[in-house]
């Protein structure tokens, strides 16, 4: 069984083709949050405008992944957002870890997004980013959240490609290019 899963994983990994500087991912895409800030909602709105095949579930559980071919995890810790979702830091870290484990098991590529700038670079956000980064095939980053080069450093070990943007709205055109 393990061998089958490993083979499926390799097939999915090889299936990643590239659009210019960035890999291309298969839809449907699941967009979820890591930290429950509003960044995931912004990516939901941008994905709607980009007309890609996706579903948004800010508090998605790992079991949901089997219906998707790629997953985008939008990092940004918000005390308000976590409270509204009935979560705390530890529960959110655990939820995200189960998604990452499931994605690895199913060979579903992960996209890490951090789009809310410096205001979402607190310790909890950074811990979530560090958790997700090793599993990710692409980072989508708004520059104001990377003034210290944090995401460049996270990308270094696996040479993970990073799509940098000055503005959140500039992400929209790239979504339709990388999610097919």
């Amino acid at each position: 069984m393990k061998k089958i899963i490993a083979v499926i994983t390799v097939i999915f990994a090889l299936a990643l083709v590239w659009a210019g500087d960035y890999p291309v991912f298969s839809g449907p895409l699941l967009i979820t949050s890591a930290g429950q800030s509003a960044g995931a909602v912004q990516l939901k709105v941008l994905s709607t405008k980009a007309k890609i095949k996706f579903e948004y579930d800010g508090v998605a559980k790992a079991e949901k992944l089997s219906s998707f071919k790629s997953v985008m995890i939008v990092v940004g810790a918000s005390t308000k957002g976590l409270g509204a979702a009935g979560l705390d830091n530890d529960k959110e870290m655990a939820r995200v870890q189960t998604i990452l484990d499931k994605a690895k098991e199913l060979g579903i590529p992960v996209i890490l997004a951090h789009i809310e700038g410096a205001s979402r670079r607190g310790s909890t956000s950074d811990k979530l980013a560090e958790l997700i980064a090793p599993y990710s095939s692409l980072y989508i980053i708004v520059n104001s959240g990377n003034e210290d080069g944090k995401f460049n450093k996270l990308a270094e070990p696996k040479k993970t490609p990073i799509a940098f943007f000055d503005k959140v709205s500039a992400i929209q055109p790239i979504l339709s290019e990388i999610i097919k």
Binding site: G39, V41, K44, T79, G83, E116
Partner: protein, 346 residues
Amino acid sequence: MKNIILMTLIVIMSISIFAVPFYSDVRPGYGVTEEKWLSDYFSGLKDTWGDTKVYVLKGKEPGASALLLGGTHGNEISGIMAAMMYVERANVQKGTLYVIVRANNSNATYHEKLVAGTPDWVEFETQSGKRVVSYGSRRTNPMHQGNDPEKYRYPGTELEFEGAEARNLNRVHPGNPEGTLTEKISYGIFELIRKEKIDMVLDMHEAGTKSRLAYTLVCNPKNIDMGAMVMLDLEQHDLGFKLEQSSKEFRGLSHKEIGDQTEAIAFLSETPNPGQDYGDYDGWSRQGLADVINDAQYPLSHRVAVQVETFRLLCDYLPMFYEKEIIIQNIPSYDEISDNLFGFYN
């Protein structure tokens, strides 16, 4: 001791006898079709310092109803000036706009000096001559509400604040018809929302220039998608606008309670005001005087332009999300307000 009691009684009686609403220098334009009072919606406010004008701008065509609130906090002046801009300039073609320039009118009579350099009055000149706008306080004038409790506990919860927060309009929503003056003001606003079947509310605020809330649009969770669209459009002005949603636990705030307890969608906007730079922000604190009008980085003209633009975008996106429309004309653009704020008042 007898003298103290006598003096206290005289002060209380004076306030009761002479209690009248504070009258702001607001000069309604052609678009205002009716002037009402908040006490028309809740009679418990009549002849109190909590009563306030409600300006109605009714369009020729029926459509959505929106409520624009300035002056929830009287020292957050960009919202007051933005609300005045709509009263003095706007023409509503479709739908109905309700504007309260001073949501908590009592705080216009109370000038706190939380930051050195903040004025008691904002003075400016238009073609009609000199005008003044009160630079009020965050909370209800303590003379109008009596002694603060030692602690203010939000009703029915364990949420506790310092006692003075009992006079903070944005901590007591949805109010109480039998409660304090501040709670009655809140109740009056909720009655307006219910009776006029308001579809959308924007409550305009300001935060410190280094506060994480500066340049933020706070949304009730039920309307956060629309807020995200507005935030993305605001990006064109390179402000680094942020999106927040109401907390489940933090009760009493307008975006939370209006969104949860009425049919209306509810937003709260924050611009950065140097006059709000009290306290310490990660080791930074304001040195010298705050200039709330002509600050080099955050002048009032810029802050009012942001508030007006935020409301304009909310109105633009309303039909996309809720199939209801309000069309407001004759409001100057972001650049026009940024360049010549005071030129647009009557």
